[in-house]
């Protein structure tokens, strides 16, 4: 699989404690839960008008996920998370300016087919006034391996109305791009990340809870994308994310509102805002309908260039659309149906990215938007069983 500038904060490295807990005294689980999800992720083809060469077919990914939560004794739990992804499709290789001034995309020539497997094992100890957790994770692809681990702790205060949480994690990734000799790519590169997270959760009243947290991550090593032409990025990156989540139950509607906001800033010069709203509507005792809306906007990286200029060699440059100035809107709908100890779920999402959706869409580099911005559909089916 092709690498990208965002070094994987792997599953374990990012199994941050904040969103896994409530601001109340935790008790060890007394029942086991096994969950399975199968999902289909389908990107739209690159519009013909933007393609200069290569396949228009972008990525399709089938994902199988399995999760097992097991109580261990009276004060411990063990969680196993595993996933298998099967991917195929082509992706943008580079962009160049055409005679009419617009950007044209050269796609990777052949459809790539590959797989990713990962496993995450975490344990938690439940104390009188908090919890302690640890986890390890591995991820494997034919050209990319990642290992990570982390610790976290939670402490309840204020009659269990307030919870403070903190965590540390580390990941080490190895990259060995395929067809390195043929395309003059790097070989055997590595990258590392260290991450720290702190959060506070507060029960506001009988029907609402809020959490806010700060996550700082430092990445170092090979952060460029070896599969993109002349992609040269800094060898270190510091990311800061501030998140706030609010949950509110509305008794009159028998529904819960989930509102999440994230502000992100990094040393590449990227700033972003993410807003995620979901409405959990109960219908009767066993059915739940969950519509959702998400908005995302980011500024471009300092070294982003919409098209390559082969006459000039810049120390840092990238035409990756994910580093451009753009926004994205997605809508989702999920149905959940509980039957005794089983829960069935069906969900669908439509995601569309466009430079016009960006807050500061007038500040697009070179006046040219990246035509490779992605749109996709995702469908999932899930089954949970509690025993």
């Amino acid at each position: 699989m092709k690498s990208r500038t965002l070094l994987a904060l792997t599953a374990s490295a990012m199994a941050l404690p904040g969103l896994t807990s409530q601001a109340r005294a935790d008790a060890a689980p007394t029942e086991s839960i096994i969950s399975y999800r199968v999902s289909s992720y389908q990107e739209d083809d690159l519009p013909l008008v933007h393609r200069l060469a290569g396949s228009r077919e972008r990525y399709d990914i089938d994902v199988h996920q399995l999760r097992l939560l097991l109580p261990v004794g009276e004060s411990y739990s063990l969680t196993l998370n595993s996933s298998y992804e099967s991917m195929s499709g082509a992706s943008p290789w580079y962009a160049i300016r055409r005679i009419d001034g617009s950007a044209g995309i050269v796609m990777s020539g052949a459809t790539i087919s590959e797989q990713r497997r990962d496993l995450n094992i975490s344990g938690r100890k439940y104390l009188e006034n908090g919890t302690l957790g640890a986890n390890l994770a591995v991820s494997h692809e034919n050209d990319y391996d990642s290992m990570s681990g982390g610790f976290d702790a939670e402490r309840h205060f204020n009659d269990n109305l307030t919870t403070l949480a903190a965590g540390l994690s580390y990941s080490s990734d190895e990259i060995d791009p395929s067809d390195a000799e043929l395309f003059n790519r790097v070989t055997d590169e590595s990258k590392h990340s260290e991450s720290v997270f702190m959060s506070v959760s507060q029960i506001l009243n009988q029907t609402s809870v809020i959490q806010t947290g700060l996550n700082i991550t430092h990445l170092s090593g090979y952060l460029s994308d070896p599969y993109k032409l002349n992609d040269r990025r800094p060898d270190s990156r510091t990311q800061t994310a501030w998140t706030t989540s609010w949950r509110k139950y509305l008794a009159g509607a028998d529904a819960a509102l989930h509102a999440d906001y994230r502000y992100f800033h990094d040393s590449f010069g990227i700033n972003s805002h993410t807003i995620d709203l979901n409405w959990y509507q109960n219908i009767g005792a066993s059915l739940q309908v969950i519509p959702g809306l998400r908005y995302y906007t980011q500024t471009e990286a300092d070294f982003f260039t919409p098209t390559l200029n082969f006459a000039v060699t810049l120390p840092l440059q990238a035409t990756d659309y994910r580093l451009s100035n753009y926004g994205a809107v997605s809508g989702s709908l999920k149905l959940q149906w509980q039957v005794q100890d089983f829960t069935l779920s069906l969900s669908a999402e439509r995601y569309h990215a466009n430079s016009d959706y960006a807050i500061n869409h007038g500040a697009i580099s070179d006046g040219t938007q990246s035509p490779a911005l992605v749109s996709f559909n995702r469908y999932s089916f899930g089954l949970d069983f509690q025993f």
């Binding site: 990208r4 500038t5 792997t10 599953a11 199994a15 941050l16 991820s139 009988q206 139950y249």
Partner: protein, 77 residues
């Protein structure tokens, strides 16, 4: 979408969230927390879906972090 419109939408959403935090922290006894324990009130109501969503967004956007697992690997293409 115009800058001013999106900016107002973001401001509105942040205001909604902050309004929740400012709506007074009232003492809630342990036996009054039944609603908070409902599954739909969890901060992460569906860990598997959260993991997948974060992995997709991590792979397609320049931002990550701040919430639960983003998934291992280098990200989708």
């Amino acid at each position: 979408m115009k800058f001013s419109v999106m900016n107002k939408l973001i401001t509105l959403a942040v205001a909604i969230i902050l309004a929740g935090s400012l709506s007074a922290c009232t003492p809630v006894a342990a036996w009054e927390r039944g609603t908070l324990a409902r599954p739909e009130m969890a901060l992460d109501a569906d860990p598997l879906e959260t993991t997948l969503n974060n992995h997709i967004y991590f792979s397609k956007e320049a931002s990550s972090g701040g919430n639960s697992a983003s998934g291992g690997g280098c990200g989708c293409n």
